[in-house]
């Protein structure tokens, strides 16, 4: 299946070449089909049989016609009925077989596509979060939907076409060889030209098909971004401007499609032309052969008839070349996504945190999202288990980055992070992450019932547990005010849940978890202070006995912290508890007092 997966990773340059090389893409596509080789073989057999059966038809009709003797009253009705009846039987059989073959092909295609889609999605699920920070959502979606569908179309239609055409071509060629090898030679003179021309065009136009996929991905990325920002666009009267920008992207996308089509559609007629050319050559050569008594007139006639049978399938084949090319370009993009490096695998015999104590330590941690620009410099601190650590500092100081590192969304470039005296890189990601309950500023709810959203983090949660958490998070009353209570479906847009309510829902979700560590990153930033007050006690209880990392601007939360880390430009500039830090009269002192500045 995924061949690249298990092998040691080649050096980047070579990989780049490998990934896009045509044979490589073909091989990978083939490996998907190969999973269903028996279906494939059966389908092919059905195809051949049904084609053969439908060929018997004309033969039988010939026999029937022979029985229709010219002249009044000379027709042998018995024989005619017999052959005609036989014909009908064969036609029915052939149609049934064809239908079965189609069903089989649908099954085969759908299974292959399902597998392909699943593999891409599974891959996506294993990508590091950094990937999603850097790529447009729409473009990724475009690969799973449009690109895979292009492959789907091609498998569904083109495969049958190729096999049927191949059968006809082979059959006709055999007949032609039997009749006149010399003429066949003449006929095949043009073959190298065909091959060369096709190859030339296909290679030449390949970038166009690639561009077409890429541009469509870009358009989708743009659409995704802009549709999500509709309200703002309206509020700023930017509809027209955004339409103009859309038009640009749209123009690029349709033009790329056009370009690919423009050149791609030359292939079909060109091949057809060459075929016609050889037909002309054969006619002339056949005539000459006849004139030099090398062939009978009947021979020429049937040879020409067979060679004409060529043009049909060749025309068909030529027409699907551009389909194949788009499928190919699409496959390339899909495989590129599959080849993105996953989050590194856990090391062998990695430590599994069962019930983490919650002792966290950062030692000389350096980190940057890009190697050129470090966000965190030489960070050191220790959080004994059960402590509350508040992180404060000006915006862009690296507070959220700290969360990213604690959760191992990213690994530090130098230094180490330890939990319970085990380097977190020596432990499984899953056990590390489930040791934490996390509430982020950016709330995330999925389309599903409110109950499912709340119970998301833990399996086998009882309704009571969920309700209890919702009550503590002060969101129960709201939920009950909805038409279907906990069974109300959140479909992202339809329900007008305020940001604050979303945050309360995510807090309730975190309360249900059994984690021993807690991360609150601006968890209540959109919740009014009144409600916050009410959940304060519950939050305290939630933090009780847990090592908690709190990023907040509300001093009430920060003041009770065991340790306050004051971060600026990726460094801890001050460290201590509230009283100590105030005495220092440093950055914390400044921050603390600015709250009341306007009131004074």
């Amino acid at each position: 299946m995924r061949k690249g997966g298990k092998k040691p990773r080649p050096i980047p340059k070579k990989k780049e070449k490998l990934k896009t090389s045509r044979t490589h893409v073909l091989k990978r596509l083939w490996s998907y089909l190969f999973n269903y080789k028996w279906m494939l073989i059966t389908a092919t057999i059905l195809m051949v049989t049904s084609n053969a059966l439908s060929l018997i038809g004309p033969y039988l009709s010939g026999l029937a016609i022979d029985s229709i003797q010219p002249g009044t009253g000379n027709v042998l009705f018995q024989r005619v009925f017999f052959f005609v009846g036989l014909m009908a039987v064969f036609f029915v059989l052939s149609s049934i077989l064809e239908y079965l073959m189609q069903l089989l092909m649908i099954k085969l295609t759908q299974r292959t596509i399902r597998r392909l889609r699943r593999d891409v999605f599974n891959k996506m699920a294993e990508l590091p979060v950094g990937f999603f920070d850097q790529h447009q959502t729409g473009d990724i979606i475009s690969r799973i939907t449009y690109d895979i569908d292009t492959i789907n179309q091609s498998l569904q239609n083109d495969f049958i076409q190729i096999v049927t055409s191949a059968i006809t071509i082979v059959g006709s060629l055999t007949m032609m060889l039997l009749i006149s090898p010399i003429l066949t030679l003449v006929f095949c003179v043009t073959l190298p030209i065909s091959v060369f021309l096709t190859k030339f065009m296909v290679t030449r136009f390949r970038p166009l098909f690639k561009k077409r996929s890429v541009k469509l991905g870009e358009l989708n990325g743009y659409v995704e971004e802009m549709i999500s920002g509709q309200q703002t666009i309206k509020a700023y009267n930017q509809e027209e401007n955004m339409i103009m920008r859309f038009d640009e992207k749209n123009e690029e996308a349709v033009s790329a499609y056009y370009e690919a089509d423009y050149y791609g559609s030359m292939i079909g007629p060109s091949i057809n032309f060459i075929n016609n050319l050889s037909l002309s050559l054969v006619s002339v050569a056949g005539a000459l052969l006849y004139l030099f008594n090398a062939l009978t007139l009947g021979g020429v006639s049937s040879f020409v008839l067979y060679s004409r049978r060529f043009s049909g399938p060749i025309n068909e084949l030529a027409n699907i070349i551009s389909e194949l090319q788009s499928a190919f370009a699409a496959a390339e993009r899909v495989f590129l996504l599959m080849d993105e490096p996953s989050e590194a695998k856990d090391i062998l015999d990695a430590h599994v945190y069962d019930e983490a104590e919650g002792h966290v330590q950062m030692n000389h941690v350096d980190f940057g999202y890009t190697p050129e620009k470090m966000t965190i410099h030489d960070l050191n601190f220790e959080a004994p288990s059960g402590n509350v650590i508040a992180v404060v500092g000006p915006t862009g100081a690296g507070k959220t980055t700290l969360v990213n590192l604690l959760m191992r969304f990213y690994d530090p470039s130098a230094g180490s992070i330890e939990l319970d005296a085990v380097d977190t890189r020596q432990a499984t990601r899953e056990s590390l992450r489930t040791s934490y309950a996390m509430v982020l500023q950016d709330t995330w709810l999925f389309s599903g019932t409110i109950f499912d959203n709340l119970a998301y983090g833990k399996e086998n949660v009882t309704a009571e547990e969920v309700e209890e958490a919702a009550k503590t998070a002060q969101i129960h009353d709201y939920i009950m005010s909805l038409p279907n209570g906990y069974q109300t479906v959140i479909d992202q847009e339809g329900l007008n849940i305020s940001q604050g309510q979303k945050q309360l829902l995510t807090i309730a979700r975190a309360m249900i978890l059994d984690a021993n560590l807690l991360i609150l990153d601006e968890a209540t930033s959109n919740v009014d202070t009144q409600t916050e007050m009410k959940i304060q006690e519950a939050m305290q209880e939630l933090m009780n006995g847990k090592t908690s990392f709190v990023i907040a601007h509300r001093l009430s939360t920060i003041r009770n912290a065991d340790t306050i880390l004051v971060v600026r430009d990726g460094r801890i500039v001050e460290q201590g508890n509230h009283d100590n830090l105030l005495e220092k009269e440093g950055l914390y002192f400044d921050l603390y007092h600015s709250q009341f500045e306007s009131a004074v």
Partner: protein
Amino acid sequence: MKLFIEYLKPLLGRLTSGLTIKFLGTIMDLFLPLILAFIIDVVIPTGDINRVLLWGGAMILCSIVAVVLSIKANQMASGVARDAVERIRHDLYEKITYLSASQADQYGTPSLISRLTSDTYNLHRTIGLMQRIGVRAPVLLIGGILMTVTLDPVLTLVMMGVLPFATVTVYYISKKGVPLFDKLQQEVDKLVRTVRENITGARVIKALSKTEYEKARFEGVNQGVVDAETSANKTMAATTPLMNLFLNLGLTLVLLTSAYRVNEGLTQPGVIIAFMTYFTIILNAMLSITRIFVLFSKGLASADRVHTILQTEPELEVQPLDEIKDSAHIRFDHVSFGYEKNNTVEDIDFALNKGETLGIIGATGSGKTTIVKLLLRLYDVDSGSIRIDGRNITSMDLEELHTKFGVTFQRDFLYADTLSENIDFGRQLPEEDILQSTEAAQAEEFIESLDEGVDHRLTANGTNLSGGQKQRVLLSRALAGDPEILVLDDSSSALDYKTDANLRKALNKNYQETTTIMIAQRISSIQQADQIIMLDKGRIIGKGTHEALMKSCEPYRDIYYNQSGGEEIA
């Protein structure tokens, strides 16, 4: 169907000339076998090599003409498809842009996105392919039938007898198919939604180790698409074999009939043989037409989905002028409103003079943001009215209305472009305005620390900025146009206190003429507002200045004490 007609009509000239060229090319293609027959039947027996070569040359000529015309026609077809789809997509995007918020809610973002992307793509494919393969088949069909008529009209009639059956079958099947393809597109919507959720929720999913669960969930959605597509394709799969069957049975009927006719001396066996040749052509042509039908069914489902949106009537019509004399700049006159499913505001009533600041505070879900959305006319009020300078906002052109505003929403959006583009947001403001706004929005410092300054490129959704930085950029955007009305919805929640305080100072100093509505969680943010309203469950429970509310409104007082840490500050 209407969609196709509507959008292909303006391209009719090019469409028909393209199809005509294709037609000519096809005819040329069909000449070849005729010449061929002529060479074999007439020329060869004469033994004249020159004539053989001559006709051979004619064949090559025909081939050349055919190839040139075909390519030309294909390219014209691509051009027509391009232009039609470009317009469809443009109109669709435009329409979606101007849908009212409640209309957009109704369809849902993922569905709108997939209509714009996957459905328009289907249309592109359909329009292109239809033109390319849609000519040859009918030409062959009609040509074939004409030839058989000249041979023996009665036999032709017998053969044609099966055509109505075939046509009805294909029609019936494709009629059944269209809703199935529609169902398929709905499943694709779900697929898009799931993938989207997994991208936006990557952090949470990983944090909760729900990766396996999500994989399983996707598996279900994936299966849904597969099932829908299988059932649609299975239905359509019957067409080709059935068509084959009908025509072939027609052939057997022809044979039987001809047996009787020959027996009665009405026709010759030779005619039947010739008849058979043309029959093959007709059969193949019919099969091609069937394929076109299948393709078209899928395109039709997409066309309907696109058309539904294009047909949506604009909701927020501009009402006839409704103006009263009013000294207030903004007035909410007993406004009530409810969303379709939940959350309402009731009897919101306040007036705000030019240059004044209104602070809104209240519990989560109490309707603070809704007030702003109503003021911007993203939704229409159910009762009461909202007036700006005495004019009901329903009687204002939306553009005119929105020009007055500078707005930041909660979780507002940033897109992949430079900082200055994100701030300017297409308004083509002078650069000094942008720089000035960044200063007031407290964004100057961090922008200067970037190597490229305001030319720094953001990633999609501004993921390369911290929460506080994003808010500053959004604030800059709101301030940059020097708006008549400034709306800040909880836009300092990610700012630290110091920055928040500086921001307020800058607003007081530089934007005195601007009427401001500020939603906040912290009283300190709105303490100095000329008017503060406190909301609870969609109703105003306190209105007045900070001092007045401290006296009259207990919940307000509670919040204040809580926030200031229990100690009163004079």
